[in-house]
Symmetry: C2
Subunit: 448 residues, 2 copies
């Protein structure tokens, strides 16, 4: 990414020096993605200045590359007319990517100012719900009749206005139904007199407009696709989704999983204003407070034992902490396995055994270590044994909970990634405190 | 994925019924990815049976689609000759994907049995270190001289043996240096008499063979590429990396981040045999044990206070637990931000303020709630206040630690994702116990 860093630095320098003409030249040559990177690190008045130095064509592309918080901030400082002029130059599916991130009123005003044809196309795409194939697709593609010859197909491509992003020609029958595709490479190497139906691939993976974008991403990854056609209920071709949009989906989904496992919203950006994420953060922190109080109430049951032997309070959090790492490790593997499609019902038993085996073996190893530490520290062999037993038991609980809770959530069609440590470690906290303090209480007269 | 499920079920049924001929027909029509899915859920002797029913062409593709543990298990049960026959039919970059996962000796034996030319190509690719662009690239591409005409270029494509996966023609000068590319779409729509140099895109993003695969993935995502050319130090074209390989990299990298944040190896699969992951799991669990003992030793300092007032032991883990969620949330956002390239040095201050603001506000809210609970439960207003203060303080520590530690790790070129809860919550555990028990100890005579 040295290229990006170089562009960013050059933009800053020219901005500082006030050399706007030179800056405009530089911007015209830079990749929109690099310009977007540079813009997000500027104060908003400089963002506006850079934006106004861009050609309208380029300005639209830069808007499309901005991260959401920066996009909203910049557009708030621009005239709707400027924004609509820039968007007029962009393919309609990319306009959708920008407009859907803006406040509703502003989005409508901008669409009103855009060219009618383009605005209508955008409106149509916006009618598909967020997160579906319809919302992702581009209505620009080349389709030819199966009865056409290769020469006719090439002539058709020449006349169509799709750009360099077309890698396939889609094949339709005379009712516009999708019946195959031909990669451009095959078209070039085929005899011009051949009919398309003779060289098409019939087996074409397609999705309907209401297909979930995650499903589209899985299809692309499983079958190594470059482009996925989107069809209606009658298999009529509506649009195509390019792999570059799928890359964005994959990145978003990974972010969602990572963040949910960490007990955060799922779509938070490091640069989001704190007020906008306050509620989501607070909710998880309150849930955590609730589970912590639950665990504390278990300790409360044994207050008498702790009063008699305060050493118990010293070792108590160790058992809970080891249960925590146990559940977190197991749940992480299982949640990721579900996302990748590796963790299916038929392998559940195998995974559960694996986790129990790991819980027992690592639990035993850790138990030995902590027993030795406890014995050396406090000189009580029985206390050391109780601690080790509680730890092994808790690691087994961790194996079961960490495996089954994500799977159960998935079965109930809840995102398994919300089985974050906040939720599942409650089980091991409670079991850990209960087993350690319970055993110690039963045997307390030998400990004093 | 209904298609996949249907194929899997059909394979199972035909296997059970022993209808091998019918099964071979079905397998020939199914997508290798679906066959691979079906195979992994079978006992190994059925895996071998299915594999032997595949055509050699298809068999290689299926091997390429298997997950690593299943691949290793299946290949162990096959003859090296069978495997080499299947691999002979595959493009050399895909052979690399299979061979690199096998035990070294077996891999060498298989390569010895393969066709000489193919084996050499594979060996050459295997010389590039794992995780580099060289290891990912395919040596199959079409390159034309910049002085050629469009008609000559098309003629050249016809003669080249690259398949449907070619989407670009690369342009080289007479020293074989990469000087541009032409998308096939543009080639088709251009006048056959035009020279290539007139229609090529000069600005071609390329990588060198030793570029890290993560860097390749970032380039593909930033510039929406379908294919990345790989060049040597003199800009001579060595190969191309397709977006489908980059998708695998992105998936692997996301898995690595998710797993490391969860305190697991980074490349563990749910189906890995437990023995093979034992050591990695154990190491993290032992590290966690160490940090837990460290936290326990802080409690040990205040054993006297707990002896006098066992209620302290009840509330103590709440402060630590809230510090834990605070650091985990913050670190998750920051680690993901670093991976996406959003979290750069220039925004560090902004992010730190955001996290401090969130720590203070949510800390205050949570502090109020826990103070109320503690007061109602134990009737001690001073204890409730101490608890609330320690909690707010710990949330501020969490904000600082959760932001700065991943950034510092990144600065030292260590994967920030290892700033998992195991490591960073140690800080909040220690600070939490210290602030709560310390305050209580100073004020203990008002609490008794």
């Amino acid at each position: 990414m040295e290229e990006t860093a170089r562009v960013i630095e050059a933009i800053w320098e020219l901005l500082d020096a006030g050399r706007d003409e030179r800056l405009a030249d530089l911007l015209a040559e830079a990749h929109p993605a690099d310009v977007a990177r540079a813009i997000r690190e500027l104060p908003v008045k400089d963002q506006v200045r850079v934006f106004r130095l861009l050609t309208p064509q380029h300005a639209g592309a830069v808007l499309g590359e901005l991260d959401d918080p920066t996009l909203r901030e910049l557009v708030r400082s621009l005239d709707e007319a400027e924004v609509s002029r820039a968007l007029d130059r962009m393919p309609s599916d990319e306009v959708v990517n920008v407009v859907e991130e803006l406040p509703k009123e502003q989005a409508e005003e901008i669409l009103d100012l855009m060219e009618e044809g383009k605005a209508e196309e955008v409106q149509e795409l916006l009618e598909y719900p967020e997160g579906t194939a319809g919302r992702l697709m581009s209505p620009d593609f080349v389709a030819v009749l199966e009865t056409a010859t290769v020469a006719q197909a090439i002539e058709h491509i020449r006349k169509a206005k799709t750009g360099d992003g077309a890698f396939y020609v889609y094949v339709v029958d005379d009712h516009d139904h999708l019946v195959g595709f031909v990669p451009l490479h095959r078209l070039i190497t085929a005899d011009p007199a051949t009919t398309i139906s003779a060289i098409r691939t019939e087996d074409v993976e397609s999705v309907t407009a209401d297909t979930d974008q995650e499903e589209v991403a899985r299809l692309v990854q499983r079958y190594d696709l470059i482009q996925v056609p989107v069809v209606d209920a009658n298999r009529r071709l509506l649009g195509v989704i390019g792999v570059e949009d799928v890359l964005d989906v994959i990145r978003e989904e990974a972010t969602e999983d990572i963040q949910r496992l960490g007990g955060v919203g799922g779509d938070e950006n490091v640069l989001d204003p704190p007020q906008s994420v306050f509620t989501k953060r607070l909710v998880w922190r309150l849930i955590n407070l609730g589970t912590a109080v639950l665990a504390a109430s278990v300790i409360g049951l044994f207050e008498q034992s702790i009063q008699s032997l305060a050493t118990l309070a010293v070792f108590m959090p160790i058992v809970a902490s080891m249960g925590g790492i146990g559940t977190t490790q197991t749940a992480t593997i299982v949640v990721r396995g579900i996302a990748l499609g590796d963790m299916t019902g038929s392998v559940l038993r195998r995974v559960l055994w694996k986790e129990l085996w790991l819980g027992l073996t690592t639990g035993a190893a850790n138990g030995l270590v902590i027993a030795a530490i406890a014995y050396v520290w406090k000189g009580q062999i029985l206390l050391a044994l109780i601690l080790a037993m509680a730890l092994v038991f808790n690691m087994l609980v961790a194996a079961v909970v960490g495996t089954l809770i994500p799977v159960a959530l998935k079965a109930f069609r809840i995102d398994p990634a919300i089985a974050s440590s906040v939720i599942i470690t409650t089980f091991t906290d409670v079991c850990g405190f209960f087993s350690f303090l319970g055993l110690a209480t039963v045997l307390i007269r030998f400990l004093l």
